[in-house]
Amino acid sequence: SYFIFFSFQQRIEIHKLRQGDNLILGFSIGGGIDQDPAQNPFSEDKTDKGIYVTRVTEGGPAEVAGLQIGDKIMQVNGWDMTMVTHDQARKRLTKRNEEVVRLLVTRQSLQKAVQQSMMS
């Protein structure tokens, strides 16, 4: 059988929202090189230890910027996110002096569907 991996890379620019003392982005992440990749429901490859978006708060800065659940975060403001621990990833996103984060994400939502479409 034949299949095609289709990954669209997107640039997402999130303007953090100030809530009290915090700057929030409005999403949650899972993954990391210190985590178990088999538990990641979004990855195509179950050995992928990358950082994935596991939840997006409705109406929050991330959703407004176009981030989607299941997106894999490749870079944050130029910092690599493909080989980081979970905590390192979180820290790179929540730097107190950064109001804007520019993410490079890979969106894999097309993969399975494209697979099917090429099989008929």
Binding site: Y2, P41, A113
Partner: protein, 572 residues
């Protein structure tokens, strides 16, 4: 397998070669959706893939032939569009790469090449004649050979489909009357016309509802009955594939069931074929008499192919020019001029132009016109244009002066571009071709409705449920004595819990008169199928509480959700 520093990679294949690459094996395309146009194509592709999924589901679930044909058509259209979008993205990526690598100082030539204007191409009144002869083509005498056909029209990455037409011996021509427009064509366009056909045998071979239902039921039983039926059917022709015997058989076949469209003929039209009238073009025929989808095509196709380049359809530029007094004793009036199509229209003021009144003066601007820059007396700077036309045997020159040097340059540039466009679009610039915008076509309701798959399995009142059970009994090799033949089908509850948590159904008591063809187990099974489909469509979600309130505490510690029984997640 996304490695660090993954950049966009460009494969060498393009167009149909790309398709071959994909079909041959693993093919990885990683594309950077940087620009808004790329995002637009990506969006379109995602939409087509969603439609495709819908069409697949419908095809697998429906039993009425017209529905199946429409779904099969949608499938083919979606596939074609996805491939077209992929090829387009591929092309753009390669162009980008070429641009980056082509900056060599030794390259002579202008950095900005002049590009011809875009235009609208319209194809309409498609007619494909058929050639039915008295001699028999088809083996089944007495049975009317029928096909369902439609056309795909492709220009660039844009694909339009015509409605589907049923063709049999009583039809002399296949006609698709309505117009199809492509609005961003260049003069080098290639309009591909493809005729697709699906053979329709008589009712029996296609699969009547009882037969299809029997197949569905025999492959969707509960565990024990499934084992029993399968054991009885093993070795029989057409028995469904086994899968280890520990779980019920699911929907059969990796390939999509149902009717299939095949390419029957195609033609490629370009600028040379454009004409304000009907023309006949050759068709390349892709199959022979042996195929089920074959039709006796005459070998040609008639249509009207018109094109309206922008330079003809809309004003190119406008502004104030002063007509130099010449032989016609014009007083050097200041005129508001509009360059459009084959004329320079000169009005007294913009209001007149807007109102659509007759211009005070019309100067022809066509392939025969000569324009040269006019200089202010002796100073050597272009300040206007001399427009020379030949009327009959006479040469007439109008000298138009601009209000500034910049204006003069702007007009000259506009004229050069206009002449270039006319040289590229050729016969389309002789006269404006008429193009009618067709009324929006009502799209066929092919997206899966929110209702239950259950309703798609329509069973005609005329279809006796006994027909189903008879077929199954025959397959199983005989009737169990003393019980109604269908009883064995409904002894086991369905294995999978439905998402709505519907309770498993009790089996009907023996010998209950069969009122409705829809049984409780069938209902439950079908809703299981629907639930499975719905689950596949929705992305998996972690059942997390909404944590938007948790960050208002102002603490600097992260909101880690350790209490959730799952992988570690952090809210940012």
């Amino acid at each position: 397998m996304f490695c660090r520093n993954q950049r966009s990679r460009v494969t060498v294949a393009r167009g149909s070669a790309l398709e071959m690459e994909i079909r041959r094996g693993r093919c990885r395309l990683s594309l950077l959706a940087d620009s808004p146009q790329d995002t637009e194509i990506q969006r379109k592709m995602e939409r087509e893939l969603r439609l495709r999924e819908g069409a697949c589901k419908l095809l697998a679930a429906c039993s009425r032939r017209e529905q199946a044909l429409e779904a099969a058509k949608s499938l083919l259209v979606c596939n074609s569009r996805v491939l077209a979008y992929m090829a387009e993205l591929q092309r753009r990526k390669e162009a980008q790469v070429l641009r980056r690598t082509a900056r060599r100082p030794s390259d002579a030539g202008p950095t900005d090449e002049r590009l011809p204007c875009r235009g609208t191409v319209c194809i309409s009144d498609l007619r494909i004649p058929l050639m039915w002869k008295d001699t028999e083509y088809f083996r089944n005498k007495g049975e009317l050979h029928r096909c369902a056909v439609f056309c795909l029209l492709q220009l660039g990455a844009e694909i339009h489909d015509t409605p589907m037409v049923l063709v049999d011996r009583t039809l002399t021509d296949i006609c698709f009357e309505s117009a199809v427009l492509f609005s961003e064509a260049g003069p080098d366009f290639e309009l591909k016309v493809e005729l697709y056909s699906a053979g329709l045998a008589g009712g029996s071979a296609q699969g009547s509802t009882p037969r299809k239902l029997a197949t569905r039921l025999s492959t969707s039983l509960g565990r024990s009955s499934g084992k029993r039926v399968r054991a009885a059917m093993d070795g029989a022709p057409g028995s469904p594939p086994g899968n280890g015997g520990t779980s019920p058989l699911l929907l059969p076949a990796p390939s999509v069931p149902g009717p299939k469209f095949h390419l029957l003929a195609h033609a490629v039209l370009s600028l040379a074929e454009v004409q304000d009238g009907f023309r006949t073009h050759d068709l390349a025929i892709a199959s022979n008499e042996e195929s089920s989808f074959w039709l006796p095509l005459y070998g040609s196709m008639c249509c009207r192919l018109a094109a309206q380049p922008r330079c003809m359809a809309a004003p190119v530029t406008s502004g104030f020019l002063r007509l130099q007094p010449g032989a016609e004793a014009q007083s050097g009036a200041r005129l508001y001029c509009v360059l459009r199509g084959t004329d320079l229209l000169c009005y007294h003021d913009p209001g007149e132009a807007e109102a659509g009144l007759e211009p005070a003066l019309t100067i022809a601007v066509n392939k025969e016109t000569r324009i040269r820059a006019a200089e202010r007396e002796g100073r050597g700077q272009p300040h206007g244009m001399a427009v020379t036309n030949r009327y009959g045997g006479e040469e007439v020159t109008h000298t138009l002066l601009a209000e500034s040097r910049a204006e003069a340059q702007r007009w000259m540039e506009a004229f050069w571009q206009h002449f270039y466009d006319m040289s590229q679009w050729k016969q389309c610039c002789d006269e404006l071709m008429r193009i009618e915008v067709p009324p929006p076509r009502r799209p066929p309701a092919m997206l899966p409705r929110q209702g239950s798959l259950y309703h798609e399995m329509a069973i005609d009142p005329s279809d006796d449920i006994e027909a189903v059970t008879d077929i199954l009994t025959q397959r199983a090799g005989g009737r169990v004595p003393g019980t109604p033949p269908w009883l064995s089908l409904f002894e086991e509850p369905p294995l999978h819990a439905t998402p709505s948590g519907r309770a498993t159904s009790p089996s009907p008591p023996a010998r209950r008169p069969w009122g409705r063809p829809r049984t409780l187990s069938l209902d439950a099974k079908l809703s299981t199928l629907k639930g499975r489909g719905a689950r596949r469509a929705a992305p998996p979600q972690h059942p997390l509480p909404h944590g938007s309130s948790s960050s208002s505490s102002g603490s600097s510690s992260p909101a880690m959700e350790h209490d959730h029984p799952g992988p570690l997640q952090s809210q940012v």
